[in-house]
């Protein structure tokens, strides 16, 4: 069975329809939320649902061996993209589970002697919630602030490490603003101090070059659906030398070195492996292409609109992310005006909570500007036509909504919005 990549991606994902340059609407620009599974990945997965359905843990017959072989190929593919040994990779249900295992597992194993965790305020909720949970189990947690560009300060990290510190957990790439933390420097510091370094690399794998040895990373969380693999699968890298000791969260038949029991989902593991292999092969060219599109988008928007601010460091950033505040225009109001673009907003109105993005607030972005932020996520199937369409419609919508905005009117009249006594509600 083969799938014509162009035909499939043309209809379902790629912005451009065959035969003309009109983008296919609506345009998906939310690649940090999730990515479509690459048709080449789906193709590799399909046989493992039907004819090659064996239990990879069945050690005594052909069907089992066949599935096991596929699993081990996938494990090697995952290991390869991060410079690890395949024996150091365990499969999980996704990065949320991997982060839970890493944080809870390491702290529970070591907490009699070392019960201190250091993490960062801009981490993904599953890291922060795991940390909170470990506080309830009696651990101490330090939540490091970030600088205005979204990066951690290494001196601050150094000062926070004590002889009680078991683990430092700092994400590789932030999901909202795409900034890349100084992994190599953090890893060197952790190794020097003798503490484990875990990184949530869900947004980093396949986007930037990673090497667990060069970066002294001891544990790394990986997500399938952020790198054009399937949803429902991820991996955790656990260093063997020097060995990282941790407690399992899920107990059962002793699979995955006893760290994660349960029959492995062969098709999903195969999909994650193939996704890693494709990403590893295509990363340099793809990064360059995305950087071009991202810069084109930023230029197109800033050339047409004043008072537009990029959130987070633009240099230390994955090429597919752009997070912009459009001053005086509320984020969700803007999203309604660009219905043909699937994007995210840091505005409170898009979520159940009443607070705007905690990540933007941690950068020191003022609440009123945090409410005006939009995250554009560009990826493998984004075309230049998509980007040009997006620029045109975002610019038009922002102009229209600014004409509707009393704050824009005041700013044009030279009134300082901060000088007004607002009734907070």
């Amino acid at each position: 069975m083969t799938i014509d990549r162009m035909a499939t991606s043309g209809a379902a994902m790629s912005g451009t329809q065959a035969g003309n340059n009109k983008p296919h609407l609506p345009i998906y620009l939310d690649y940090q939320a999730t990515t479509p599974t690459d048709p080449r990945v789906v193709e590799k997965m399909l046989p493992y649902f039907t004819e090659k359905f064996g239990n990879p843990h069945s050690r005594n017959h052909h069907h089992g061996w066949e599935a096991e072989e596929a699993i081990e190929t996938a494990r090697a593919q995952v290991a390869s993209i991060i410079g690890a040994d395949p024996r150091e990779v365990i499969f999980t249900s996704g990065a949320t589970e991997s982060n839970n295992i890493a944080i809870k597992g390491v702290l529970r194993f070591h907490k009699d002697r070392r019960n201190h965790l250091i993490t960062v305020v801009t981490e993904h909720k599953c890291v922060l919630e795991s940390a909170r949970h470990m506080e309830m189990e009696g651990c101490e947690v330090t939540y490091l602030p970030v600088e205005q560009n979204g990066l951690v300060d290494l001196d601050r990290l150094r000062a926070a490490i004590t002889d009680k510190t078991a683990l430092v957990s700092i994400m590789a790439v932030n999901n909202e603003i795409g900034v890349i933390q100084p992994l190599k420097e953090i890893g060197a510091l952790c190794r020097e101090k003798g503490v484990y370094f875990h990184t949530d690399a869900a947004q980093a794998v396949g986007k930037i070059a990673l090497d667990v040895n060069a970066m002294n990373i001891d544990l790394m969380s990986i997500s399938g659906h952020k790198l054009y693999g399937p949803k429902g699968v991820g991996a955790l890298y656990v260093r063997r030398k020097p060995r990282v000791r941790l407690e399992a969260l899920i107990h059962g038949g002793g699979q995955e070195r006893g760290l994660r029991a349960g029959t492995l989902p062969t098709p999903l593991c195969v999909g994650l492996g193939e996704a890693c292999a494709i990403a590893e092969r295509e990363m340099p060219a793809e990064a360059e292409r995305l950087r071009y599109l991202r810069d084109r988008m930023l230029k197109g928007i800033t050339k047409a609109l004043p008072e537009v601010y990029v959130n987070g460091d633009l240099e230390n950033r994955i090429p597919g992310n752009l997070n912009i505040s459009f001053a005086y225009v509320e984020g969700e109001g803007l999203m309604m005006g660009i219905k043909n673009l699937s994007v995210s907003s840091g505005s409170a109105c898009t979520s159940a909570s009443l607070e705007p993005s905690y990540v933007l607030r941690a950068l020191g972005v003022e609440e009123e500007l945090a409410h005006t932020s939009i995250r554009f996520g560009l990826g493998r199937f984004t075309t230049e036509q998509d980007v040009d369409y997006a620029i045109e419609h975002v610019v038009a919508a922002v102009r229209r909504l600014r004409e509707l905005s009393p704050l824009w009117e005041m700013a044009q009249a030279g009134i300082d919005i901060k000088s007004i006594q607002w009734a907070e509600h």
């Binding site: 509320e330 309604m336 505005s347 409170a348 159940a352 509707l404 704050l407 607002w422 009734a423 509600h425």
Partner: protein, 139 residues
Amino acid sequence: MAYSKELLEHYDNPRNVGTLDKEDKAVGTGLVGAPACGDVMKLQIKVGVDGRIEDAKFKTFGCGSAIASSSLATEWIKGKSIDDAEQIKNTEIAQHLSLPPVKIHCSVLAEDAIKAAIRDYREKNGRTAGSAQTADAAE
């Protein structure tokens, strides 16, 4: 989240966008909400000698529901006496636009904006200005 046809229509074609001269004695201005909370409404009324609202304008910083709520509010109060305009309830706005529960506060803000504009008009023109009733008779 699916929005109602009425809401989208007001968002796409907002009525009465603009600004009246707030120094004009016949104009009342209401400015409610806060930028830090993600919504600000400015609603203005121009009251005729007969006590009727002859013109209304708005500008809103906020989500689609906030824009639609304030647009609808200006549409409803135009031509009404200020006493009648004051009776408009947020629940009527929410119902007309089929606002989802998380957006009810947008209709509350629109009601507040109407009341704030009327209050400003009365402060400029005396408490009973434009009203058929006296200040004592009014509740």
